[in-house]
């Protein structure tokens, strides 16, 4: 789960990380923007569009303002309107929140990130002297300017490790101590909120020598959200695909894609493989959908409804290899959902595994038009043929 910059800064502030003085809540109207500027009481302030995508500055979504009227005008320009950045795609995003904080005089821009490092099997710090650029770009062009340091989970951030990175970033004097405290605060925030990413880009040294988090991005491990109600509240459904939000309610793992074959599969690996084979047979998957192991009839029915709510779907492929998932439960769910929605597209079902005989029987006796498939390749062939796509294999 991703959150907005202003929310990330609220979280980091709570853990003692230095962030610019700000009007902590977002503003959602031009009037609020003008009032927030006045309340902040600074001669100059930075206003930033809040969307779950980067590239806001280049798209004109960030501005320094020096009066309440200027703040009102900039808010009027963006709120309720669309912003297109290199990360939003051509459709852009509607701006619903803006953030206002003190303007900082920047002497140096650095990069600091915390991620789960699969190789080190721990949280790792990524730091670079090249702040303000995308870290992937730095990694490609000047990998020698990136430091990666794993953090031992039994020790946390040791002072020596903090100093090592600080010196590596070219910090000196009081900045070194400030950095060690800052890194410890970020690590504490990471571990205690079940984050999956904290990215401070840029981390800046101000002209008066302070080290502060000028921008902040946080993502969270969905598996850890159950123990953080305060983080769950930060979810912004406007930034998420409505079908994906609906799927999340039923604990379904769904990703909306651009194709025309709706896919319902159990297991993430098999779901990806099913998408792959649909493409190999000349069609495009409309979605990734893993109904999970212990799916109930209701869950399967919800999955089926969500897939069919996508107008682009011209055919549906159900591929189930029952382990925990029982084929009879799956079949029951499909029958139930097909009763609720008016099934007007071809449906291909391939089932194997636990209770497969019972599952096939339920489908056969349901009266729903189901195209049965013997195996994975047969299923892909039949669903693509059913929608009129043919590709020489």
């Amino acid at each position: 789960m991703n959150i907005h910059e202003f929310q990330a800064k609220q979280v980091l502030r709570r853990f003692g990380a230095p962030v610019p003085v700000a009007h902590e809540a977002s503003v959602t109207t031009p009037d609020e923007a003008a009032k927030a500027f006045t309340a902040l009481g600074q001669p100059r302030a930075v206003m930033k569009v809040q969307i779950h995508a980067g590239g806001r500055g280049k798209a004109g979504g960030v501005k320094i303002v020096s009066s309440a009227e200027e703040a009102r005008a900039f808010a009027t320009k963006w709120l309720g309107n669309k912003i297109v950045t290199h990360q939003t795609g051509p459709d852009g995003r509607i701006v619903r929140h803006m953030y206002i904080e003190e303007a900082s005089d920047v002497a140096r821009e650095l990069y600091l990130g915390l991620v789960v490092d699969r190789k080190a099997q721990s949280v790792a710090v990524i730091a670079s002297t090249e702040g303000g650029m995308e870290i992937e770009e730095v990694a490609a062009k000047t990998p020698d300017r990136i430091m990666t340091e794993p953090i031992d989970p039994l020790l946390g951030v040791s002072a020596f490790l903090g100093r090592k990175i600080a010196f590596g970033l070219g910090l000196k004097d009081k900045q070194v101590g400030q950095f060690v405290v800052l890194l410890s605060a970020l690590y504490k925030a990471f571990v205690e909120t079940d984050a999956s990413l904290i990215e401070i880009n840029p981390l800046v040294v101000t002209k008066d020598g302070r080290v502060i988090c000028l921008d902040a991005k946080m993502s969270f491990d969905d598996n850890g959200l159950f123990r953080h109600p305060e983080i769950r509240e930060l979810r912004d459904p406007n930034e998420e695909d409505p079908a994906e939000t609906e799927a999340a309610k039923f604990d379904l793992s769904y990703v909306h894609l651009d194709g025309n074959i709706g896919c319902m599969v159990n297991g993430a690996g098999l779901a990806m493989a099913t998408m792959d084979i649909v493409k190999q047979y000349g069609a495009e998957p409309a979605n990734f959908l893993d109904v999970g192991g212990g799916a109930s009839t209701e869950k399967v029915a919800a999955a089926f409804r969500i897939i069919l709510s996508d107008q682009r779907v011209k055919g549906v492929l159900i591929n189930i290899f029952g382990g925990i998932m029982r084929c009879d439960v799956l079949a029951q769910g499909v029958v139930e959902a097909a009763k609720q929605v008016n099934l007007s597209v071809p449906l291909v079902v391939r089932m194997e595994g636990t209770n497969v005989v019972e599952g096939k029987k339920i489908l056969a006796e349901s009266g729903i038009k189901v195209i049965g498939a013997a195996d994975l390749a047969d299923a892909a062939r039949k669903v693509t043929e059913a929608i009129g796509v043919r590709k020489a294999q």
């Binding site: 789960v116 992937e136 598996n223 993430a268 690996g269 098999l270 779901a271």
Partner: protein
């Protein structure tokens, strides 16, 4: 021979009275696995279908000599369950549970490093040596005793591969699902090493997916160490960048971890790559017939 489990393996189920624990303990027992104990805190002294239940793993180990554990404990308590089994000295700890927070697994991995236990999972189907011992949630009937080792990050895709092999008359030495999470106890490389050292295993199927660089590292390992034929498949060739595909580990970030990168690395290591998920079995068959 086989890897990690055989007819002598004695298994304790952690969370034996939960719905999932019950179903799969029963199925494993029916398959012929020695299911010797269950653990549910507070239910010690009772039984589940003749299997004695204990309050702690330590008690279960003392009383039954169990040398493997399988856990269906809910995500919030899964890490603690693993730690309990490791602390009790259980040699093989298998965590089936899906949805374990990554931060919990970071601590678990660090703790296990200094122990003698091996962890498989979490978020995995378990391990099976066909005809001898099934620990986990895989459907037993699709397997056939034989000489091909199967290792995979995905559960149902493993079943798919095994099913294809069995349909073609090719049996399996052992099949291990290592789990789809970013941090798991046993890696592709660990599994490849075990299969490579197992005299019964003549060939290996390795199934990977997008995200991370585990498959690339495995490819390098095969190139350096493995003389047995290896067939690989990578799921997620059509996955878009930056989106998590179900498994917490399956995300392509910053252009790394793509299926194309992994396939290139595997091929460069001399591994035969099945391009379609429907061709994992036949690719192995063709490779075995060529030799």
């Amino acid at each position: 021979m086989s890897i990690l489990v055989d007819k002598n393996t004695r298994v304790v189920t952690q969370g034996i009275t939960g719905a999932t624990g019950q179903i799969h303990t029963r199925a494993c027992k029916e398959y012929g696995t020695q299911m010797v104990a269950g653990v549910v805190p507070g239910k010690g002294g009772t039984t589940f279908e003749g299997i004695p239940i204990f309050d702690t793993v330590e008690q279960a180990r003392k009383a039954t000599g169990c040398n493997a554990s399988v856990s269906y404990v809910p995500p919030a308590f899964a890490a603690d369950g693993i730690l309990e089994a490791v602390a009790a000295g259980v040699e093989l700890v298998i965590c089936i549970t899906e949805g374990v927070p990554v931060i919990d697994m970071v601590k678990v991995r660090r703790y296990i490093r200094d122990s003698k236990s091996r962890l498989i999972g979490p978020n995995c189907p378990g391990i099976i040596t066909p005809g001898e011992c099934k620990i986990g949630i895989m459907p037993g009937y699709i397997h056939k005793p034989g000489e091909v080792g199967v290792v995979s990050r995905s559960g149902t895709l493993t079943y798919e591969a095994v099913y294809q092999l069995t349909q073609l008359g090719i049996g399996q030495s052992s099949c291990i699902g290592i789990g789809g999470d970013p941090i798991v106890g046993t890696s592709h490389i660990d599994s490849l090493r075990l299969f490579n050292e197992d005299p019964k295993t003549k060939a290996i199927v390795m199934i990977g997916e997008i995200g991370g660089t585990a498959e690339e590292e495995a490819a390098e390992y095969v190139k350096q160490n493995v003389k047995k034929p290896v067939v690989a498949f990578i799921a997620g060739q059509t996955a878009p960048k930056g989106r998590r595909m179900g498994h917490a580990g399956a995300i392509i970030s910053g252009g790394r971890g793509t299926a194309a990168d992994k396939i290139a690395a595997l091929k460069a290591a001399g591994i035969t790559v099945a391009m379609s998920p429907a061709e994992m079995g036949i690719t192995m068959k063709n490779l075995l017939e060529k030799r």
